[in-house]
């Protein structure tokens, strides 16, 4: 439909803008690192970089040029996909990110799906299960949302790996290896999503159209799957963009604990080694991923909720 194309175009423009602004922020972040920017690019004072190396970086990054020229050069390089060279990895930042991106994306998506499943299941059960279930459900969500990743990871390892011995405590190839990391990220997220879902599930269940469906002779199970769940999903889907971002944040901790590949771990070691080029590169790529993800969520929202489309038209 025509409204869609217009909408998409507008949103795509927004994405480009966000990326440009993000690039600008990272550019200035790089320049704000105290001391010699050339040295910062090489990893700060710890790099023990010789004068030749520093000189080469200056030339490469045009650090002797005026700031405007540097900025434009930087943007120009970004457009061609050149995010610079990581001193700590001895390779182009883009290559380094490319190697890790898939793992983080997989983890984030699996966690997102898992979080959704957990939140839906818990919310559905607690909404329909009476007072006690309600109290338990809201209690669980509350605690889940308040649990820091690093602590949860430990508890899960202790329980599933060491006590029960059914899941590997570190990432292993194959689907089994992703279970604990994904669970660690999914549980707190499910707490948040569940809180939102339960509210909206309750609202949906008290809506007149549910009465209509009951009056039509629909069973409660069918009503739940056909009607209420979808309504409850709307606000939670809207949160998925945010959720994706928070999962990426969580990946920083979780990937390290479970020794998984991924951007989060790269980022942490880059921060620890003050590999500024790598940090800004990762942040930029994540911003891109996040923006695209938001776009996807909005699209999903339009699919689930035709009303948003109608309004836009």
């Amino acid at each position: 439909m025509p409204g869609n194309r217009h909408w998409l175009l507008l949103r795509a423009g927004g994405v480009v803008f966000v990326l440009w602004a993000a690039a600008t922020i990272t550019f200035f972040a790089l320049r704000l690192v105290p001391g010699d920017p050339a040295e910062a690019i090489l990893g700060g004072p710890g790099s023990q970089a010789g004068p030749e190396a520093l000189e080469q970086v200056r030339r490469e990054y045009g650090l002797d040029q005026p700031l405007v020229v540097q900025y434009l050069t930087y943007l120009g390089r970004l457009v061609t996909g050149d995010l610079g060279q990581s001193y700590s990895l001895h390779k182009p930042v883009l290559t380094a990110i490319g190697e890790q991106f898939g793992a983080t994306l997989t983890l984030a998506l699996v966690s997102l799906v898992l979080a959704w499943a957990l939140a839906t299941g818990l919310a559905a059960w607690s909404v329909r299960g009476g007072r006690v279930a309600w109290a338990i459900g809201s209690g669980l969500e509350l605690v889940a949302a308040a649990v820091p990743h690093f602590w949860l990871a430990t508890v899960l390892i202790l329980f599933f790996s060491l006590t029960l011995g059914i899941l590997p405590p570190v990432s292993v190839p194959g689907p089994l290896g992703i279970v604990l990391p994904a669970l660690t990220m999914a549980i707190p997220l499910a707490g948040f999503l569940g809180q939102v879902m339960r509210e909206s599930l309750l609202t949906a269940m008290e809506s007149p159209f549910v009465t209509t469906a009951r009056a039509r002779g629909e069973s409660e199970v069918r009503i739940f799957w056909r009607h209420t769940l979808r309504h409850a999903a709307i606000p939670a889907v809207g949160l998925s963009g945010w959720a994706f971002g928070s999962l990426i944040s969580g990946a920083v901790v979780v990937e390290s604990v479970f020794a998984r590949q991924g951007l989060g771990r790269s980022l942490l070691s880059a921060v620890q080694l003050r590999d500024v080029t790598l940090v800004t590169g990762i942040v930029l790529v994540v911003a891109l991923a996040y923006t695209v993800m938001t776009l996807v969520t909005d699209l999903a929202d339009r699919v689930i909720d035709p009303r948003t489309r109608a309004v836009a038209e």
Binding site: P45, A49, P168, S256, S269
Partner: protein, 559 residues
């Protein structure tokens, strides 16, 4: 920081190693983890979990740190090795000879070894490797220092190579035994650094197959392997080494996860084992320990004598007298670490240990410390209980490199901080990332520091405590962090490194260590900890007598 090593001190220059080899081969021990039981089994995949940071380059020529050494030991080999007694034994070189003036070394090379890319191992290859290490573009740090005195390399014939020295270097053989100067295929070295870093090519028992960044390096069996060091060759004669099909070399930085992975059987060997897990593993039949303290310098706290307040020896002594390190080490390390009273590692025979100097008897020493501080002018205390002089607090900056310090050690520093507070010292612990830590050191913004500078042999003392090492390199780094500036000490160290007489050398180093210890420049803690835990199914694992890295050449998985 790459941990720097130097060869282990050996009294005599070994002219022919064959005799020593025969003697040494009879008594494997020390670095071996338990007695192998049963017949070796061929095949299987072993997973190793390293707690160290993932190397950014698998070629230990580049940079040159311990994590690189750990993995490179599996696929690279050196010209010579050491046996369990520290004697130099043949490896890729079968014999060697040195000229009387110590300026020319000739190495006879094995003629039946090829690199895993098919390139033959010959004199040209040795020349190419030494050139690679010395090339500034390689950015070698550890290897570069080890080979600093090699001026030129001449391929006399295919399997005879001559090293020409700029000065006599009694430690050359030990230097060459280190994996940081191991032999790589000259053909492979011609590739770009990025490629060579991803998959260095050597002659070792395993070959780098794939490297999934931040996950694992997969090493597969070198089917044509024929060049174990002489002692191993002797012990395993008739066996087709290595036994394992492959090794998955994982990086699991989180110590709790690493240990859990070992317990659950996901991995079979872990390094950087936590003291408490080592202790609890003792009661676990499924897990065995391999303790291989690193040679070189002991872990110690350096007292910056280059500026106030530690430019006053009384204050240094007062500090050392006021902290109780023994109890802390006992409780934090669960008896897995021995207290050190020496600048050198306990595996260094020339180490001088002065326990009396550092054993603190609190009833006596707190008073002594108090008197010393009073004498030094720090007689008053402020409201917080810290000593003051001229309105200034007795405050000590203690930057801690979180990358280089294990948790137990950081806890020990916290305890030292608490002890020192009683005596009136304010210790400011500053956990820093490596880069910032270097920055602080370069700015001379520290009073206490613990820097695990590792270099095999007593010559490490020259690097660490010769006044030349106070002058920063162009990069700003300097090794003499205690900033010891003592002409007598300088003389002793210079002489010791030049002399080839074993007894004289030993005497010189003893005097040097005496000066360092009695000047209260350092507070020795313990050996550089190097604990491995292995599943009891892993047999035949041993640590290289060179730099204490475990080798899987003779390891197998018991069914």
């Amino acid at each position: 920081m790459p941990s720097r090593r130097f060869s282990r001190p050996r009294a005599a220059v070994v002219v022919t190693a064959a005799v020593a080899l025969l003697l040494a081969a009879c008594s494997p021990g020390g670095g071996t983890s338990g007695e192998p039981s049963g017949e070796p089994v061929t095949g299987g995949t072993l997973t190793y979990a390293s707690g160290d940071a993932e190397p950014s380059c698998l070629d230990p020529h580049v940079g040159g740190n311990y994590p690189q050494a750990l993995i490179a030991t599996q696929y690279l080999e050196s010209l010579v090795s050491l046996d369990e007694d520290g004697e130099v034994i043949p490896w890729l070189a079968t014999e060697w000879d040195v000229s009387d003036d110590g300026l020319e070394w000739e190495f006879t090379l094995r003629d039946d070894v090829t690199f895993t890319d098919g390139t033959p191992f010959d004199a040209e290859a040795v020349a190419a490797n030494i050139a690679h290490v010395q090339d500034p573009a390689t950015a070698s740090s550890t290897g570069y220092l080890a080979l600093a005195k090699i001026k030129d390399v001449v391929a006399v014939d295919d399997h005879l190579v001559r090293l020409e020295m700029s000065a006599p270097d009694s430690a050359l053989l030990e230097s060459l035994s280190q994996v940081w100067v191991a032999m790589e295929s000259p053909k492979a070295l011609e590739r770009s650094q990025e490629e060579n870093c991803a998959a260095p090519v050597g002659t070792g028992p395993f070959v780098v197959d794939t490297w999934e960044r931040q996950d694992s390096v997969t090493l597969v069996r070198n089917d044509d392997y024929n060049s174990p060091p002489a002692d191993v060759a002797e012990a395993t004669e008739g066996s087709d080494l290595p036994y394992l099909d492959s090794i998955v070399w994982r990086f699991i930085p989180d110590s709790a996860s690493r240990y859990a992975a070992l317990q659950s059987g996901e991995v079979q060997v872990i390094d950087n084992a936590q003291p408490d897990t080592i202790r609890s593993a003792e009661s676990d039949d499924a897990i065995e320990e391999l303790d291989a303290p690193r040679p070189g310098a002991a872990n110690r706290i350096e007292l910056n004598s280059g500026k106030a307040p530690f430019d006053d020896e009384r204050v240094r002594e007062a500090f050392i007298r006021s902290v109780n390190v023994d109890d802390g080490i006992q409780s934090l390390f669960f008896g897995t670490a021995e207290r050190s009273y020496s600048p050198l590692s306990s595996v260094e025979p020339l180490g001088l240990s002065l326990p009396d100097l550092f054993t603190v008897d609190f009833t006596v020493d707190t008073d002594a410390a108090s008197d010393l501080l009073d004498d030094a002018g720090w007689a008053e205390r402020d409201a917080d209980g810290y000593r003051v002089k001229d309105g200034e607090r007795l405050s000590l900056d203690f930057p801690v490199s979180t990358n280089q310090s294990i948790p137990a050690e950081q806890s020990l520093f916290e305890q030292i901080q608490a002890d020192a507070k009683t005596a009136g010292f304010e210790v400011n612990l500053q956990p820093l990332d490596l880069s910032s830590w270097y920055g602080v050191l370069a700015e001379n913004d520290y009073d206490l520091v613990s820097a695990p500078y590792t270099k095999v042999g007593p010559d490490v003392l020259r690097i660490l405590y010769h006044s030349d090492s106070i002058t920063p390199a162009p990069s700003g780094y300097f090794a003499n962090l205690a900033q010891v500036d003592d002409a007598e000490l300088d003389d002793l160290l210079t002489q010791a490194s030049a002399t080839s007489d074993a007894d004289e050398r030993a005497a010189l180093y003893e005097q040097a260590q005496q000066i360092i210890l009695e000047g209260y420049y350092i507070l020795p803690l313990y050996d550089q900890q190097n604990h491995f835990l292995r599943s009891s199914t892993v047999q035949g694992l041993r640590a290289m007598p060179t730099v204490s890295t475990p080798t899987f050449a003779g390891a197998w998985l018991a069914p």
